[in-house]
């Protein structure tokens, strides 16, 4: 799935990384606990979270992730956006809650090849 499709499915605002929206990603992880995110080394390109602090961006960097989606309209700080931008990570903000955001992505084939 292209990051652009994630942005459309979740009705997001794009806060940085406009130029990377056509990049392909094939898996995601939804969590507010960063240690749980770090527990799965398998390529996970998208982080869906409701947590807002700089460690979210650093976790995504450690995992070589491509995109962070903040749910429940949580707004990252300008410092977080700058850090993500520097590291070529797309930052999206969605009004959906975690459960529905993950459901929408999964139902549309992200991390679920059978339905892709």
């Amino acid at each position: 799935m292209k990051i652009r499709q994630i942005a459309n499915l979740l009705d997001t605002q794009v806060l940085c990384g406009e130029g990377l929206l056509d990049d392909e990603v094939c898996s995601a992880c939804g969590s507010d606990m960063m240690s749980d995110v770090l527990a799965y080394v398998k390529d996970q390109a998208v982080l869906v979270t409701g947590l807002v602090n700089p460690q979210v961006v650093r976790t995504a960097m450690m995992m070589d992730m491509r995109c962070i989606v903040f749910v429940r309209s949580k707004r990252p700080t300008p410092e977080m956006i700058a850090l993500a931008d520097e590291n070529h990570i797309v930052v999206l903000v969605s009004g959906y809650r975690m459960y529905e955001a993950c459901g929408r992505l999964y139902a549309n084939g992200l991390g679920n090849e059978a339905k892709a």
Binding site: M33, S35, L38, V41, T49, Q55, R58
Partner: protein, 140 residues
């Protein structure tokens, strides 16, 4: 790269916001040196979790990374309270982190297990009231 490269970092214990800065720096250096992506990811995640632990539990400490062509060694040393029961601390889900740290997305009891998971060798030396030294190795 004939000789061992050594990188030293002081991990600031008072600043959760900057926790992980040393791991980011190591990741960048390993990339420049041309190590495989998977190796870099394992080293940086293990070190990142360790750095967070030092900030949360031990008011910071020192991180030393030794880079050889076939092995990367990370030594994290602190003067914190020490770990009373290592077996318990190694259990997934066990955490003594305070609630304010949980609110920041850590303290899920996955730090030490993750460090062990991503490294080929991990040794913990700890003394109550004196501090803890964690030595991790990742083979290339």
């Amino acid at each position: 790269m004939a000789e061992t490269l050594r990188f030293h970092y002081d991990v600031d214990g008072d600043n959760f916001t900057s926790a992980g800065a040393a791991s980011v720096e190591v990741k960048r250096k390993l990339r420049q040196l041309g190590f495989p992506a998977e190796t870099i990811r394992r080293v940086s995640i293990a070190m990142y979790e360790g750095e967070i632990n030092m900030v949360v539990h031990a008011r910071g400490g020192a991180a030393d990374v030794y880079v050889e062509p076939n092995c990367i060694t990370i030594i994290l040393a602190d003067q914190g309270p020490g770990i009373p029961d290592i077996d318990l601390a190694m259990q997934e889900g066990y955490s003594t982190a305070p609630d304010n740290i949980r609110a920041l997305g850590f303290g899920a009891g996955m730090g030490l297990p993750n460090m062990k998971r991503y490294t080929d060798d991990m040794k913990i030396e700890t003394e109550l009231g004196k501090g803890t030294t964690v030595t991790m190795k990742v083979f290339v």
